[in-house]
Each structure stands twice: as C-alpha cells, then as structure tokens.
Amino acid sequence: MAEAQIQQDEAVSLGVETRSRRQDFLRAFFSNRLAIFGTAIMGVFILMAVFAPYVAPYSPLQQHLPQKFAGPSFAHPFGQDELGRDILSRVIYGARISLTAGLAAVALATTVGTIVGLAAGYLGRWPDSMLMRLMDVLLAFPSILLAIVIVSILGPSLANAMLAVGIVFIPQIARVVRSAVISVRERDYIEAERALGAGDAQIVLSGILPNSMAPLIVQATLTLATAILDVAALSFLGLGARAPTPEWGAMLTDAFRSGFGVFLQGQHAIIFPGVAIALAVLSVNFIGDGLRDALDPRRRG
C-alpha cells in the first residue's frame, strides 16, 4: 500500500516535470523554422494520403494509351505516364503507399531494435556482447545490398521490401537504445526503484524506457527518412511495389525502363515522382533535426 502510494507520488511528480519539459520542448522545436517547414510539408503529405480519393483529380490506374507521356497541361498538371495515366493522381495516391511503407519499416526496426537494445543494455555481460555482435554482423553489410539479398530470399513485393528495410535498420536503433540505457542504468532513480523492489520488467518499462525515449525518437525519425528512400530504391530496382501500384519509386522505374523516349518526351514522368520522394524525405529530416536540437539542450544553438 505504502509502496504503491510512493510510486504514484513519484509518477505525479514525474508527470509535472514532463509537462514542463514538454512545453520547453515544443517551444524549442517550433522556434526552428526548418522544423516548422518540415512539419507543414509532412502535414500536406499526410492529408494527401488520407484524403487521396477526394484530392486526386483522376483514378491513379485509369489508362489513356494514346496519350503516352503527354506533357503537363491544364487537365493534367503533372502530365501523363507511359500508359497515359495521370501523374498527379498517382503521386497523391503514392503518398499513401510510400509513407505507410516507410512507417511500417521504421515501426518494425524500432520495435525489434528497442527490445534488443533494452535487453543488451540492461542485462549487460554475455547477452549484451552476443546481441551486439549479431548487430555488428548485420551492420557489416552495405544496407542496400543486405536489403536486396533479403528481398530476393522472400520474393519481391512491397511488404517484403518494408520487412527488409526494417531488418536492415534494427542495429542502428538497437545501438542508440543500448547506449541510452547504459547511460541511465546506474542513475539514482533507477537505483531507487530497484531498492524499492521493482522487478526487472518494471524497471525497464517505467524507469529506463521513458528516459531513453529522446534519442530513440530522434533516431526513429531520421531512420524514417532513410527508410522511405530505401523502400523507393528497392522498388526502383524492381524488388518492391508491384504494378500497377502507384508507389513513387516504382513510378520512376517504370518511366525509366520504358525506353529512352522518356528522356525526350516524358521528362515530367521522371521529375514529379522524384520531387515527391525528395520532399517527403527532406521534411522528415527537417523534423528529425528539429527534434534532436529540441531534445538535446547541448545541441541547441
């Protein structure tokens, strides 16, 4: 009873601290103009993704074969692709696919990476060295090459591309979490919890994890940027999204592979999907940078 009361009090006091910290953080984050810009762009992409059927002027799949690679016009602001489909509509629907794919990959990497990092950092000794050795092996391969091999094993599809990219990023997350855990492991409040008889799981979940959150969030955000790029790259190599899915990387590869006529008549089919990828990744990077600066007082400048 008494123990529970103390914990509750502690939670309350933590909560108070968190709130003020949160305000601090928000102020820091939104004083960064690039972070605002990134958030705004990402907001637009998310709205586009959610309301794609209402925003897109045409179906992303409707073909008009005679208008192969027709250039931008009033009716088709981004022009038409190799099968005469409206590129604007495909880019809009593509936001759904590319963003979801990136998020799914990061979710996988973050979940597994966090578990591995927590286990390694908290347990120490042989579990630590074994897990981190495994992570080192994964890290020893160039990430795209590893992803290519994984997708080749699983078979090319968007889901497998997400899975492969997710696996590739596990070590990075695990490393960040592990070092955060090690840095908080010996702190006083953890010792206090331990002294109060909290179990390992409880200490990890209520003490260590929340306090490792900041670097984790930053790393996950920056990973999201790379994940979006890598999923698109896999699609570009023909190992990701399947036709006729309007995934941005796949749109680029389809245009590119249709022959060099695209460079004469269809430059718009190359430009716009790429701009979408670059903008999305850039905005995530802006957000990530903003988060890092806001969460890490030393870096604020």
Partner: protein, 565 residues
C-alpha cells in the same frame, strides 16, 4: 505511332547524347561485359575499307555450333559454318546448301539420301565429303565417340542434338549415317520424323572440319573451322569476333535472291555492346554499320536519323496470355473465349510494340509452314465478353495475372502488357491482380501450373509447326514438373492431330492435321494470343542486301557496303 511526340528535330549529337539514357534497364539483365583485359572501350573502334561492323548485345559462348544454344553464338558460327540445308532469305522455305537438293523422304520417312556439293573445301584446306558428314553426325550422336566432347567451360554438351533428334546413342532418331559414295550420304531413321529436314537447317548442325576436330577437339570451340563464306580470324572475348572473306566459298556464283553470292565484304566484325543505348548511339555515330537488339521505342528515334534505315526481322516468336485450363473458371471454354473478346489487342499491340509487332491471330507465327491463314483474331467486343462470362455463371471474378520480370524477345515489356490487360479485364468485371517473380522462379512456377493466368511466349528453333504447337499445346508437355504447355491445355483430338503431323512425312497430311489443330485451338481458346514480334535491326543506308533471317542468325555473305564505307 499514336502518341503525342514532340516534333523536335534531332541532330546527330542530340541523339548520341540522348541515346545514352533509357535502355539501361534492359541491359541490366544481360550478361555483364567489360573486357577481360587488353582494351577498355565503350565498344568502338573504327571501321574502314569493306569491313562490316555489326553490333549485338552479348558475346558468343562457343564457336563450335553444336556446343552452343544461344543466338549470339550462332550469329558468329553462321558465318563460319554451312549447314546441309538452309532457309531462303526472309522465309522458312528450305533451300539446298552443302547438300545439292532438299531430299525427299524414302521408305515412308525412314531414310533420306543426300547428294553433296562437290569441290567444297574446309578452311583448313581439307575436303568436304560424305565422310565428313558422317564424322560430324557420329561425333554428335555417339557418347562413346572419342570426339564427343569439347565446347569449353560453358559447353552445352550437344544439347540441340539431344533436343531435335530425340537423344544420344540408342535414343537417337537417327540410327546411322552411311557413306554411299564420296558425295552421297544416307540417313537411316528409327521412326519417321516430320521436321527431320528442317532440323538439318539449324545452325547447331553446321558441318565442322573433321581434320581440325581430330587435331584439337578441346579447343575447337575457340578455333572453329568450317566451310562457310567467312573464315575465323580472331575472337577478343567480350569485345568482338573477326572473320575474313573466304574467297573460295562454294556459293559465290549462285544467285543472291536465294541467299548465295558473295562474300562481298573483306572482313566482318561482330561486336558486343551490352548496353542497348550505347549500342544505338554507336550505330547512329557511324561506329557500327548495323545493330540489333533495338527496342520498340528506338524505332521512331532511329527513323528520324539521316542515313539510317530499319529492317524488321520476320517474326519467329509468339507471345501469349496462357489461362490455366485446369483451374476454375478457366476450365470453361466460354470464359477463355470471353477473355479473348475482352482485350483490345490492336490497341495494346500499338501501345507496347508499335511498328515492331503485329496482332497474333494464331498459336504460331505466320511464316511457319502450315500456318492457317483463314483464322481471324477474336475481335474486341467487351459486351460479348460480358455475355459469355454471364453464360458461364462467372461474376466478379478475382484472379491473378502473372507477368515476366524481364524483357523477352517475344514481349519486350510484359509489365505494360499486363497493366493494359488488367484495365480491359476490369471493364468486363474481372479483377486481375498482377503478380511477378524473379525469372527462374517464374519459369519454375508456371511450369508447375501454379498460376491461373500467365504471360509467356516462345521463340522457334527450326521453323517447324511442330516446334510451336506440339511443344506448347500437346497434353504430353503439360507435365506438372516442367510444363512447356503452361495453359495445361489437354484436348485428345488435338494431341492425335499433332502426333499424326509429327510422324508423317506426307506434306498434305501434315497440312490437314495442323490446319485442323489450329481451328480447334482457336475455338478452345486456351490462350489469348497477343503478338508476333518483328525485332528491328538498324542499318546504315550504305548497307545493302541485309536479309534478316527469322532464326536471328543470317549469314552476311550477300551484304554489300556502298560508298566504300
């Protein structure tokens, strides 16, 4: 071409730079090639005098024709070796070559007697005669023959003999080849084989010099000696093969219209440039006199170039959508017919192939003998398709459409084909999910019949109907381990007709059987036939008498270069 094309006039330098771009995708799948030493080059080198430089996408594998299966090997061996019989230019009509006439079947197809050309010499100076023919066939057939070997690291081990003549030793359809006199040989067959004489025209059965083989059988694949219009001079791996005119060629004085005459060129260089765009750039930059492996989108671009022309190779392929006849609802012919009506094939072929393809009406390309001209392709009629589907009790069909992951000669862009079909099918209420696998897996899975519908195609080997219809649609080749009949089409009547046509040598009986088989197939509709692809070849205007052979390995002997280029 029905496409909005910018009317931008291209200069040569324009094109050279342009041409670098798009086709690298196709090149991805080629065998890599950057020379093993010697020179690093973009594939070039000057041409001068009466040297004819031809660009192609990959190097040869073996210059001993019986040890090769790839078209690029045959492209070179065709210059160095002659076969007993040949095809007339741009057709599948047989003409004599090392034999003096196309033989008639004897003993009900159990034997053939070939008269041979006299005075022919191999490039090493030894005589071509009946003994040489017997030596070659014995070497190919008899696994205990001391020369039944060679071909280097990638030898195909006499694969084409195995494929065309049923096997080696006791499995061979050819029982023996006997020397009757110096210039007469007799082939004795175990059983009649309809395509027998056509098989003799195939590049792998080029007649090699017995003296050269006896001297060094292990290196014969890189030091080939034949009787052909050109003699082998040098093979720079991954770069080029040089051959020189054989002034003593037997065909020099024969009419060009039949594919003889020449060789008019002092030297021929067959150069490998794996990257498509680089190859086209080399052509338009006048570093090549001719090049093949152009893709449909190159056609308008090369056409706009001053001083270049395009030849189209007669189609020897058929591309198709195979429906798995053993899976519901494709076990119902009405459904299969409905699919034939549902797809606007002229629109599709125009969009994907442009000038390089014609809509297929049948289950083999039109140049193949016994092609049934009276069959018309199914017209585009979505209403009829819906009606047929309704009659078959099929509604809201959810199915899969598989497409090849890589460009094939019979379908350079399967992904676009699949997407266009998907949309047409949607209009008649069929929801087809597009699926693809890596190429080896794709062949494996379609061979096992895992698909409901798949795109595939076939390139002919010997210009015989048997090589298309029997391979692709006989129930015997619908074995679940590795079917070539991926439609799993099984019609006993068709089987009977195909077998009859295969084992008789009576031409009119073969014709009747094949005509009837094609009619039944058209009705049964196991496929949606798509197109016959006519691969384009880019040539300088100075190049004359380049007659593309449907088999993709023509001899360059009639070719001339005007203007001393």
């Amino acid at each position: 071409m029905a496409r909005t094309q910018k009317t931008r006039k291209l200069s040569r330098s324009d094109f050279l730079k342009l041409s670098g771009a798009g086709l690298t995708g196709a090149a991805l799948f080629g065998v890599a090639g950057c020379g093993g030493g010697g020179t690093i080059s973009g594939g070039g080198g000057g041409s001068g005098g009466s040297t004819f430089v031809f660009g192609r996408g990959a190097d040869s594998i073996s210059l001993d024709p019986i040890h090769a299966t790839d078209g690029e090997s045959f492209r070179a061996t065709r210059q160095i070796f002659d076969t007993l019989l040949d095809f007339a230019p741009e057709s599948f009509d047989m003409i004599p070559a090392l034999a003096t006439e196309v033989p008639k079947a004897q003993d009900g197809g159990l034997s053939y007697t070939l008269k041979l050309r006299k005075g022919v010499k191999f490039h090493d100076g030894t005589d071509f005669n009946a003994e040489a023919v017997r030596f070659n066939f014995d070497r190919w057939r008899d696994t205990k023959n001391e020369y039944h070997k060679g071909g280097g690291g990638q030898s195909s081990d006499f694969a084409y003999y195995l494929a065309q003549f049923g096997g080696f030793d006791d499995d061979s359809v050819i029982e023996s080849v006997d020397v009757i006199d110096d210039y007469t040989v007799k082939f004795s067959l175990k059983e009649p084989q309809g395509p027998f004489t056509r098989n003799l025209t195939m590049s792998p059965f080029g007649i090699a010099s017995p003296a050269a083989i006896k001297k060094n059988v292990d290196d014969f694949w890189q030091e080939p000696v034949g009787t052909g219009p050109y003699t082998f001079s040098k093979w720079e791996r991954n770069s080029q093969i040089r051959v020189e005119a054989n002034k003593d060629w037997w065909g020099t004085d024969l009419p060009a219209s039949q594919g003889y005459g020449g060789p008019h060129l002092k030297e021929v260089i067959i150069r490998s440039i794996p990257d498509n765009t680089q190859r086209v750039a080399a052509l338009t930059g006048n570093q090549l006199n001719g090049a093949d492996g152009l893709v449909p989108d190159d056609v308008p671009t090369v056409k706009q170039q001053e001083g270049f022309a395009l030849e189209f190779r007669p189609p020897n392929t058929v591309g198709y959508l195979a429906m798995n006849n053993e899976k519901e609802p494709f076990d119902d012919p009405k459904v299969r017919q409905a699919f034939n009506y549902a797809i606007d094939m002229p629109k599709l072929v125009e969009a994907v192939l442009g000038e390089t393809g014609e809509v297929a009406s049948n289950y083999m390309p039109p140049l193949i003998p016994f092609f049934n001209n009276s069959i018309e392709p199914y017209p585009y009629d979505p209403d009829k398709a819906k009606q047929l589907l309704a009659e078959a009790g099929v509604e809201n069909l959810e199915t899969e459409l598989w497409y090849m992951p890589i460009p094939r000669p019979y379908m350079p862009d399967a992904k676009s084909v699949a997407q266009i079909m998907q949309q047409d099918l949607k209009d008649v209420g069929v929801n087809a999910k597009l699926v693809t696998y890596e190429w080896g897996t794709y062949l494996d899975k379609t061979g096992k019949g895992d698909h409901t519908m798949c795109l595939l195609g076939w390139t002919g080997d010997n210009g015989d109907a048997d090589n298309f219809l029997n391979v692709l649609l006989n129930s015997a080749s619908a074995t679940p381990s590795a079917a070539s009949n991926v439609a799993y089409y099984k019609n006993p009547e068709v089987d009977k007709l195909l077998e009859k046509a295969q084992t008789t040598v009576n031409e009119s009986a073969r014709q009747d059987a094949y005509y009837r088989a094609q009619e039944i197939m058209h009705e049964d509709a196991p496929w949606v036939p798509i197109a016959y692809v006519k691969p384009p070849i880019g040539l300088q205007d100075a190049v004359k008498n380049f007659d593309p052979n449907p088999t993709s390995s023509e001899s360059f002997n009639p070719v001339t270069l005007s203007g001393g280029k």
